[in-house]
Subunit: 341 residues, 4 copies
């Protein structure tokens, strides 16, 4: 006998307390009728509950029939944030049901660590600390043979989605020449973030620091290989922040091993990486174990996004904060979902 | 029989080729009559040469008598950049001879590595790389227990000279609350760099990241001790970029050892640091062997500054690019000069 | 026997040469099969042409039946830019046909003149010029009794769509406290433009300069009346840039006549305004005859936007540059279309 | 029997209440022993008072003898802000007495009205308002024949002192190509304000909007004449914000009359300007009666600057907020002082 909108919640591997800070969680339960279930339990909910549900928090598999029975549904909040081929998106779009993701929360933490990687490579911060601890540090200019500044340099961003944009926002203090490449984005949008849109070859051959933020799609798997690395200027830094799937990882390691470029990577072809993987011993390759985004503050940020969009949707407005899946691209993403947060 | 202005050059430990890129060095010799000597050789130069010299590049010891004989002198370019008590500054100022330093070139490289230190501490970039190589990395959120963002945090700068200003210029992308303390600077000047001027206690107790850029003066030696570190919020980062002389180094190490704060330092009480110094084994203390400023590009930048100010001085204008020594403060600095570049 | 995508063009009152600079117009005809018609002529086009048409440039009335026959349609570019109730939007959305507008081109020109209005009111630039010509100028501080700075002041924006955002982008140099109100927008989006989201009362009572950029909707007609103006601080500037329909115009004139506020307006309840309308003689009311957006460069900008989105659509991607109509809001807009450019 | 530092105050035409807001004025009298006098009265003050005076607020004529008797003097705050040849500056500098001016307070108000002039000229804001009142307004695009945007345009600043810098600070929102010329300033300093240093010819021939902020010196009187205006692009805006003495005013009027350029001016060869001066009837010439800087808030800002520097000087530090006169340039300025505020 409630008039509060009904939410079906099945966010695993996330959980509501991971997503919502205590105050916000209280708000959520105050304002909404929240039915907590699991991907498996959802189809078995009473027909009435399904028919009344306005929102889903989660990314459960939905059959055509199941979606059809959810006659009040307005928005599915995919809080895992990878779009899986597990529901009839076309049906949802036809009915005007929004499907949105909260992956934008990772943009700031990943961009920050990405800039940290870039500065560590440019100045060998991590290597100099290790040397110092081993008693083999070199003092002053002696330790700066390969050091260079980001200030005034040419910096590239491959992929100008939320993450590429977050990287761009951190850089103005360095007054760089900022280049970007993203075939899925209009040039004027790229320019709006202060970056000059260029083709891939120009990007690769011009930048002394290159941030790779492109999502894996059906079209770009492994598209950065030996040729791409060869095109980069000697001594340049290749910083991989999105998914290992966009590079030929062996070729990347070889380009670093040969001394042509340096690299940093937060992602790997296999995670966890085998104990005997050669990347673990490769000088000039800064290693991070898929830690770039997974901060507690990022997960809490997801809940804030969801709450803001719920408020808009409740008032008959479209969601604005979470990212909407699009008919044209929903089937093209190839990132694998996470199993742990 | 030249009409080119005469420069006496004795820049050791710098050298003209270190300071001037080849093109600029050619310009220097084209436009000026350059007499190359040493600190020791200078007093023995012909009286006529001394009387004609318009500029000195270097920081030679000058007696009152020697300065008095340099009747055409307009500017002394101290390219070592620490002001030593080795010349009668008051006489120079009385005669309107400028004494200027080029230490500003270190501001950008030091600020960049300082931000790199801050990001490495906030995300344990260096530690995670070492762990990964040792096969003990932790994946995803597991490895982020103490991780935090700079974005939106409270960041402090202690000392708003050229270096503090350069740090401030790198930060806007993080949209921080920026606080600063500098008793030698007017509050409105600090505000002009986007920082809120606060007292030392407020600075210490408010900031999760603190950049220390204050020069050592006769008044502030060792002024940051156990009490200061205790005031900092638990988990905060203390980043020492100027000189070890401003801190009680043992107290700093103890504050890190206890787990209260993290730290990064480019400077040490003794350089090189003894092989058995406990800092070398201290977790949470990021080490850098006085490498922050000593980039070749920084030294070349010195030459560019000198050339710009020579051009202004030649046209009867005051120097603007190098930093002028001031009657009020010239005797108060206590940084030791460098012996190597 | 072409394989070029087919565009049906009926952009009146715009024309293709108004929208596309010569080079771009050539590109358009090179890349596309362009069928030029009129709103009236469109339904009479051959069934085959209708069936093949991928794009419409224009905003023609479309019956359900007519739209149904356009089986290849992907996007309607409404270059007049007001969304009229003249087509079955729901059918279009169901089929995944985008309906987009190019009104964003007016944001920059309107924002610029809006800032010009604000500075003219704050300093009486227009009035002082008129006085000077009439020989009654007052010199120096005498002429500045009511003058005030924007720098450091509290500035408000009512409506944070493309126009409000463009205003916000011009203001950082004034280091204002920037407030905004827009019930259709999520607070975090507003914050992303550097403005603090506040309720309407706070906005009205806090700002010494208020830019009104809100579109007329079914919900906000005439919502700014005598009470709203009374809430504004004495001497504040009310700058109307969107549509006269959002204000009670008589109440606005009275608030200016009484000396409580100043105002500038580019829009009027009747356009052209009757020759004897009292606004024409009202001191403190800066008048502009709906000129804010109608620059030739703005119309040419429309063509650039259309070309960028055509390129994305041709490659199976969603449009990004033009603004998409939304199911939720398409029926709520009440701006009248223009009859002349 | 006081230990408060002694200030001699003779700021006419300013007055202490004009310069210091009530709270600050109270502070001034609390912290200092203030002897109020006039330019004429100063020499007749008791020898002891003269000998004790640490500061002067004002710009009184001082003979060599009088200055010699002021043995404790540290700083002269010239709050009129033009440096007159009425004191032995060389003696002051020799003794390390600072002579500082507070003219920097005018930079923000003048820059703001300057931007207002630029926008009024680019969009004919003032003219359209006059036309509207006269019943001859033109609606929409009809009224925009000569309208143009500042956004993305090439903008020039002639003179990069405090005023030119303040103009530069207002412009980033317009994303201009910003050029500047200032022979008294090092190129790297100009670059630091986001402007590209160019020679005068390039500046004149490249900019569609030109802000003239150069002070009159012994070298540049009337240096902008018919040739300079002819070099400007047709339709460009010439905005004169400093002093009429830098232009050939008749030539400027002729360049406007011919339709080649537009202009705005806040300053005139004779002030007040004769009632029959032809500038009063010149279309395309926006007129302002030397009102750009004389805001009450600007004068109050002077007091704040003086207080900040007094605090530094009291602590044995050099002044930083007011602008110091320089040996090299003090005798070269030719601006006439104001008689009224």
């Amino acid at each position: 006998m409630t008039e509060r909108p009904l939410i079906i919640s099945c966010p695993l591997p996330r959980t509501l307390p991971l997503l919502f800070a205590p105050d916000l969680l209280r708000d959520l339960f105050d304002r909404y009728d929240v039915v907590e279930t699991t991907d498996e339990g959802l189809p078995a909910l009473p027909a009435e509950t399904l028919a009344e549900a306005r929102y889903i928090i989660g990314q459960p598999p939905l059959s055509e029939d199941l979606l059809a029975r959810m006659t009040s549904l307005r928005c599915i909040f995919n809080v895992e944030s990878n779009l899986l081929p597990n529901m009839p998106y076309e049906d949802a779009f036809r009915r005007g049901i929004h499907v949105v993701t909260t992956g934008g929360v990772f943009a700031e933490p990943v961009a920050e660590i990405g800039l940290g990687f870039a500065l560590s490579l440019a100045r060998n911060i991590h290597g100099a600390d290790a040397d110092f601890r081993a008693g083999r540090e070199r003092w002053g200019g002696e330790g700066n043979q390969a050091a260079r500044l980001l200030t005034g340099s040419t910096i590239g961003i491959l992929g100008m989605g939320a993450l590429g944009q977050a990287v761009a926002r951190l850089l103005p203090g360095f007054r760089p020449r900022l280049l970007a490449h993203d075939p899925w984005q209009a040039p004027s949008v790229t320019r709006g973030f202060g970056a000059e849109p260029v083709d891939l070859d120009t990007l690769l051959s011009s930048c002394s620091t290159l941030f790779v933020t492109a999502a894996v799609t059906s079209e770009n798997q492994g598209f950065l290989g030996a040729e791409a690395f060869a095109r980069m200027p000697r001594g340049a830094s290749f910083i991989l922040l999105s998914r290992a799937g966009v590079v030929d990882f062996d070729a990347l390691m070889e380009a670093v091993r040969s001394g042509h470029i340096q690299a940093a990577s937060d992602v790997f072809p296999d995670e966890p990486l085998p104990a005997d993987h050669p990347a673990r011993e490769l000088p000039g390759f800064l290693l991070s174990a898929h830690r770039a985004g997974a901060l507690d503050s990022a997960f809490k940020h997801m809940g804030e996004m969801v709450m803001e969009d719920l408020d808009l949707l409740d008032r008959g407005l479209p969601p604005q904060v979470c990212k909407r899946a699009e008919r044209e691209t929903v089937a093209r993403f190839r990132s694998r979902p996470v199993a742990v947060n």
